[in-house]
């Protein structure tokens, strides 16, 4: 093994950060500094209020110059936060940036312990380990990889649409992959949007059409990403494109085929209308769907079921020849440099709370269903008619269904209070019914939200503060449902008879979020939404370089926040594309040829096929470009002939022994 670089008799600078009181409140920073100064090799040890501040950084740089430091140790927050910062400081001070090691004194020590003495002892151990390890550090170079300017966006809701247009307008090529037959996501289902009551279609459909007509956007509907290979800048994506049985290029969207279908009546429950309406086997999800191309549903189409249909659709399509029953699933591979995930949310399944009677009593609806009922383009053309054809005279809306509840989801879904208010307004406007909103706490924290709440209250909607405990048919037998709740403001139990119940169900991760996250090498937070790199400072980045998040796949949010986040994700992608390269950590592994015995143990272990066997030399060789730096081969090499940069055996031994070398 090559000799580790000799650091001479000293030259290590140790900097202990107070982080205000975050560290100094629990760890005796003076004691740590005094202790660090006694460690072999340490030339200077100081503590500072905020090491990451400009004066803190200057202090380190000055010491490097004036005291001829050769190594730097900073004991502060998690390296995930500021390792880059201090590597830059080390480099600006004139040293190789990897002549640095960071001690996690905050997240792993001061924030998680209460006993100051124990926390200080732990801090000493951690610093001692760092000092011993940093002496062995070698100079390393970050490698640059170029960034393919094409971008993949997964999910064509408002988040994906907005991000796609932003990037495309900046001149980048976007592949937008949507699994439904149309883009638009949930927003396309709404009639009006809170708090301004803008018509959802009026603001959304122009953007949808712009996506379709944009020369820089390749839109693939009925498609899903099945495989993600490569790494930031150079992802290789496999997309499965399901057949539509209608040729997108040939169909002009006249929809004559729908009229011509042998089914004279629409008979198939319509997904887009939450099964409240019917469609034919050949259909378009909604009038403004993009692409404006019909789709055939294999499950209900007679030609697919029996092969004996008259195919009146094909007849009427005539020489446009857009219908193709033979269309097959296609697989495409594309190269992109960055990825934005915008896969959105799924609504809470209301049958999980049986006492609300969803699925048992026909007049219990979910918020999303009512969005379709109030929609002028919906199954009832915007009239609120119950499943038993009555018009409701009294309506109860239950907030927080499947949110803020120990038994379902503990988090607040953020939009349900507001859409409950919106629905209260719309129902009242359309039916003049008495509307009762049952809420736990009213959450209206956005711009114009509280004003909207006041407006709805002034319109005469009744607000009852209390969790609905039960919903059941009125024993009086007049077709009413009784809603029981303790009114916590009045201190009484109320039983309100209503004709219609609306359950404002919360937002949950997509059912396949776990599979998707694995495919894209991401993490999820506890509730199952995709995990951002940092909740405050990197809210659209992920731990996988080059993959960004937008919209509700990261957590519940309303449309304004979704759009803002989509813009941010697009900007992050643009930043990478425009600079053209990314610098990658040099944690790759190399084979020490003199030591390698050519046993080939490592070769099958590498998940990236980065190791090959060079027959002439009878030695293993690692392709640095393919190596991602996991270190698995290093740990398995029987002769110790593979080395991982910054995680060399010697460095780790020193760290371990340093931790344990207490007096």
């Amino acid at each position: 093994m090559p000799e580790p670089k000799d650091t001479g008799s000293g030259g290590i600078g140790v900097y202990v950060c107070h982080c205000g009181t975050n560290i100094a409140g629990t760890v005796d920073v003076n004691a740590l500094t005094e202790y660090a100064a006694t460690l072999p090799g340490v030339t200077v040890a100081r503590n500072y209020k905020y090491a990451c501040s400009t004066p803190g950084q200057e202090l380190i740089k000055r010491d490097i110059h004036e005291l001829n430091l050769t190594r730097v140790v900073v004991a502060a927050c998690s390296p995930c936060l500021h390792e880059k910062t201090f590597r830059n400081v080390t480099s600006e001070g004139g040293l190789n940036p990897y002549y640095f090691h960071m001690v996690n004194l905050r997240e792993h020590d001061s924030w998680v312990h209460t006993d100051k003495k124990a926390a200080t002892e732990k801090g000493k151990d951690l610093i001692r380990a760092a000092v011993r390890r940093v002496r062995l550090h070698r100079p390393l170079e970050r490698k640059r990889v170029s960034i393919d300017p094409n971008v993949l966006i997964v999910g064509g809701g408002i988040a994906g649409i907005h991000a796609a247009l932003t990037l495309a307008n900046a001149g980048k090529h976007v592949y937008l992959v949507e699994r439904d037959a149309t883009i638009g996501g949930h927003m396309a289902m709404f009639d009006k949007t809170f708090p301004t009551l803008d018509c959802a279609a009026c603001i959304l459909t122009p953007k949808m059409t712009a996506v379709k007509s944009h020369p820089n956007i390749t839109l693939w509907t009925l498609s899903e990403v099945t495989q993600v290979d490569g790494y930031v800048g150079n992802y290789k994506i496999t997309v499965k494109r399901k057949p539509r049985y209608v040729l997108e290029d040939a169909c002009v969207g006249c929809m004559e085929c729908i009229d011509a279908c042998v089914y004279k009546q629409a008979k198939v429950p319509d997904e887009f209308n939450m099964y409240l309406g019917k469609r034919k086997p050949i259909y378009i999800p909604f009038p403004q769907a993009v692409p404006q191309v019909v789709v055939i549903d294999r499950e209900s189409c007679i030609e697919f079921k029996s092969g004996k249909c008259k195919k009146t659709c094909v007849e009427v399509c005539a020489d446009r020849k857009a219908i193709d029953f033979q269309q097959q699933e296609k697989t495409e591979t594309i190269d992109v440099g960055t990825i934005i995930l915008a896969t959105g949310f799924f609504t809470f399944n209301a049958t999980r709370i049986p006492y609300y009677g969803y699925g048992t009593y026909p007049n219990v609806y979910t918020g999303l269903e009512v969005e379709r009922l109030v929609n002028a383009a919906g199954p009832t053309s915007g009239e609120i008619i119950l499943r038993d054809n009555r018009k409701p005279k009294a309506v109860g809306i239950v907030h927080c269904v499947g949110s803020r509840d120990e038994n379902t989801n503990r988090y607040c879904s953020r939009v349900c209070c507001m859409y409950s208010l919106k629905l209260a307004h719309l129902i009242k406007e359309k039916t003049d019914a008495e509307v009762f909103n049952f809420y736990i706490d009213m959450r209206t924290p956005g711009k114009g939200f509280e004003e909207f709440y006041n407006r709805v209250a002034e319109e005469g909607t009744h607000f009852i503060r209390g969790r609905v405990a039960d919903i059941y048919p009125d024993p009086a037998g007049d077709g009413h449902l009784l809603m029981c709740a303790e009114d916590t403001l009045m201190g009484t139990v109320r039983k309100i008879p209503v004709d219609m119940v609306v359950l404002s169900t919360g937002l949950e991760p997509q059912p396949d979020a776990q599979e998707v996250r694995r495919r894209f090498h991401l993490s999820c937070s506890g509730e199952g939404f995709f995990l951002e790199r940092h909740p405050k400072l990197a809210p659209v980045s992920t731990f996988t370089d080059g993959i960004f998040l937008a919209g509700c796949c990261q957590g519940p949010k309303d449309i304004p926040d979704t759009v803002a986040q989509a813009g941010a994700a697009a900007a992050e992608a643009l930043a990478l594309i425009d600079i053209g390269y990314i610098e990658q950590e040099p944690y790759t592994a190399q084979v020490l040829e003199e030591v390698c015995s050519g046993c080939k143990t490592c070769i099958p272990l590498c998940p990236y096929q980065a190791i090959s066997f060079v027959e002439e030399k009878k030695k293993a060789e690692i392709n640095e470009v393919l190596c991602k730096g996991c270190g698995t081969c290093v740990a398995s090499c029987p002769s110790g002939s593979i080395q991982q940069n910054l995680f060399e055996d010697e460095e780790i031994f020193e760290e371990v022994e340093g931790l344990l070398a207490y007096a």
């Binding site: 792993h108 272990l605 996991c630 371990v656 022994e657």
Partner: protein, 165 residues
Amino acid sequence: MPDAMPNSSHAVPPRVEPQTFEPRIVAFFCNWCTYLAADLAGTSRMKYSPNVRVVRVMCSGRVDPQFVLDAFAHGADGVLIGGCHPGDCHYQEGNYKALRRYRLLKRMLRQMGIEEDRIRLEWISASEAERFRWVMNDMVEHVRVLGPLRLQPDEEVFAEEEVAV
């Protein structure tokens, strides 16, 4: 949480006095899951025993059994390895490699007379701060019950030799 260290107003008793035995535990955490869970426990201000010292590696697959032996040889009373859940490894399958090695290592440690509970492999994802805290406390309590690890002198030599190989 048990009161982990003697009250600071008292004189510090020697470290390995049986009643006040504070186990020394070295942990190897992968950068992408367990290390982040530890960070999350920090940002969530969860409290746990201060006996564990963390070494960050990129993947649990990097954990060479020699690191574990080295830790025992130099006075660790327990060693914890933390990685991503099966199927979640940032490098696809490093954690499976870690698991295989861990099984072998456990057998070897048994032959050296090192109790099972002193070595542990746990899958803890980036969001599982609560589980992380539980594992930390649980590990410390198990090792506390076992008492300090006393390697026989010849075993120490053996461990040293193992490391040297």
